[in-house]
């Protein structure tokens, strides 16, 4: 039992790391209906910029602020150069554009900072410690706390501020939002900037765990099953989806893995996501269209 709980807790905490990536997708998808394939590239860009500044002797917080400004600048640029010319195009067109965008961002990040692997030390030890009889990773706990702060901040932003309310209005009905004078371009720029910030947080945590390197942008693929399970339009869903993926892949690896030769952690989430697609295509918390009968 103790072992089971330990695997479960470890899995749940690891899942939070997936949620952090998924939240970036949800923000953009909600506000503009775009599945932003470039989110992974943004994570890489943020992490690479941060670590390169750090290595050049810039202090931690200053590097953080500069990287954040870079992400905001990137968001403004994307709105101007990609989203605005493609306004009112079908979603698939925008998706293709973000696919291209991901290559541009990855390329730019590496052209700017080089392609070597960087180590990133956030000063949090990635070693287990004992809590209530369970061995837990200190780093994972830190990641979970960060995610909690992030989600609280975002939900306050969405429910309490004018920009947040406008953002939800745009997500609901862009034409009506336009009709009452909400500036869609400004909202998109804000959303991409916030997604850039989330990408920065995810990039730091993932970078500290895996090293800052090109493959960081591939974590988009891990976010996909999280989104399918949690729903593309719910931040809470992204958290729950991440937890489910994290817990189930670890439990599957430990308990089902040995029966079929192991190594199932890598593909198990996709199978789980497929099953969800059959049963609940909108995900657990995805907004289905409200229809009155």
């Amino acid at each position: 039992m103790g072992f089971f709980l330990e695997v479960l807790a470890g899995g749940l905490l690891a899942g939070v790391m997936y949620s952090l990536v998924a939240i970036g997708f949800v923000l953009i998808y909600k506000a503009s209906g775009v599945f932003n394939f470039a989110q992974g590239a943004m994570v890489l860009f943020a992490a690479l910029t941060f670590v390169s500044l750090l290595e050049r002797g810039v202090p931690f917080w200053l590097s953080f602020v500069i990287t954040l400004l870079a992400m905001v600048a990137l968001a403004l640029l994307i709105e101007r150069a990609v989203l605005r010319p493609l306004v009112n195009r079908p979603p698939i067109t925008l998706f293709m554009a973000t696919l291209g965008l991901s290559y541009v961002i990855e390329g730019a990040a590496q052209a700017l900072w080089g392609a070597q692997v960087h180590g990133l030390d956030l000063g949090i030890k990635d070693e287990p410690f004992e809590f209530a009889g369970l061995l837990l990773s200190q780093f994972d706990l830190f990641a979970a706390a960060t995610a909690a702060v992030l989600v609280t901040t975002l939900s306050l932003l969405f429910s309490k501020t004018r920009i947040g309310l406008s953002l939800r209005a745009v997500a609901d009905d862009p034409l009506a939002a336009l009709a009452i004078g909400i500036r869609l371009q400004r909202i998109w720029a804000v959303v991409w900037a916030v997604a850039g910030f989330v990408g920065l947080v995810a990039g730091l945590l993932w970078g500290a765990r895996l090293g800052v390197q090109f493959s960081l942008s591939l974590i988009v693929l891990k976010a996909l099953p999280v989104l399918i399970i949690g729903g593309f339009t719910s931040i809470g869903g992204a958290i729950v989806g991440g937890l489910i993926i994290g817990a189930s892949e670890k439990l599957a690896e430990v308990y089902i893995g040995p029966l079929i030769g192991g190594g199932i952690e890598n593909w198990f989430p996709y199978v789980l996501a497929l099953l969800f697609l059959l049963v609940r295509p909108a995900g657990l918390f995805g907004e289905r269209a409200i229809e009155r009968v």
Binding site: V87, N88, R162, L165, S166, R168, A169, A171, D172, D173, P174, L175, A176, A177, L178, A179, I180, G181, I182, R183, E287, A289, I290, R292
Partner: protein, 256 residues
Amino acid sequence: MPGTPILQLERIEVIYDQVILAVRGISLAVPQGGIVALLGANGAGKSTTLKAISSLVRAERGEVVQGRILFDGTDITHANPAKLAESGLVQVLEGRHCFGHLSVEENLKTGGFVRRPSRADLSASLEKIYHYFPRLKTRRHSLAGYTSGGEQQMVAIGRALMAKPRLILLDEPSMGLAPQIVEEIFEIVRDLNQREGVSFLLAEQNATVALRHASYGYVIENGVVATEGTASELAGSDALQASYLGGKTVASLVAA
């Protein structure tokens, strides 16, 4: 018509997707403080005309290619929709288009943001809307998507009013609503017109109701103004019936 009309269309043409000519040279005017009805069957070009005025037509890949639109004497043919809302011209879309996942009160608030009001100003405007639509106050915390059709129409109008507009373009307010609700909504429109001085250009298929509340009307057919006149003239004319029921077109009736 005394003074400059608040709205004036001069032979505008609207094209969708660079090929479909939906409006073929419509001219009309709304006097300051007036209620003008835009009548016609489904697909005649009423909605397109309204969207051309509010510039929303561009969000649907349409474009005004000919003619001019003047709001208070200023050319707004290619203005930005946000700018128009700021300067006091707001459209209430056909089918209401409430933000379904926002509460009634949140819906109303979003309508006021364009003025960048202070917190006190925003809640004062909110109270004013609740004064005109007491029903919305009791439902203020419900998600707009779960309110009735009539309430959604009130939310849509109330939300537009939050911008303190001088002209509201109202598209098919009666659509899908029970007759007594339609009556209630039109009463409020008249009330707003008289007490707040808001002008209205309303597109309606339900000509009988519209002409009872409007002072002047235009009948649109295939993207052109087929006939126009005061509400009482139009209410009694054969032309109106012809335009809805087909058979002889208005143009042929007028020629005869």
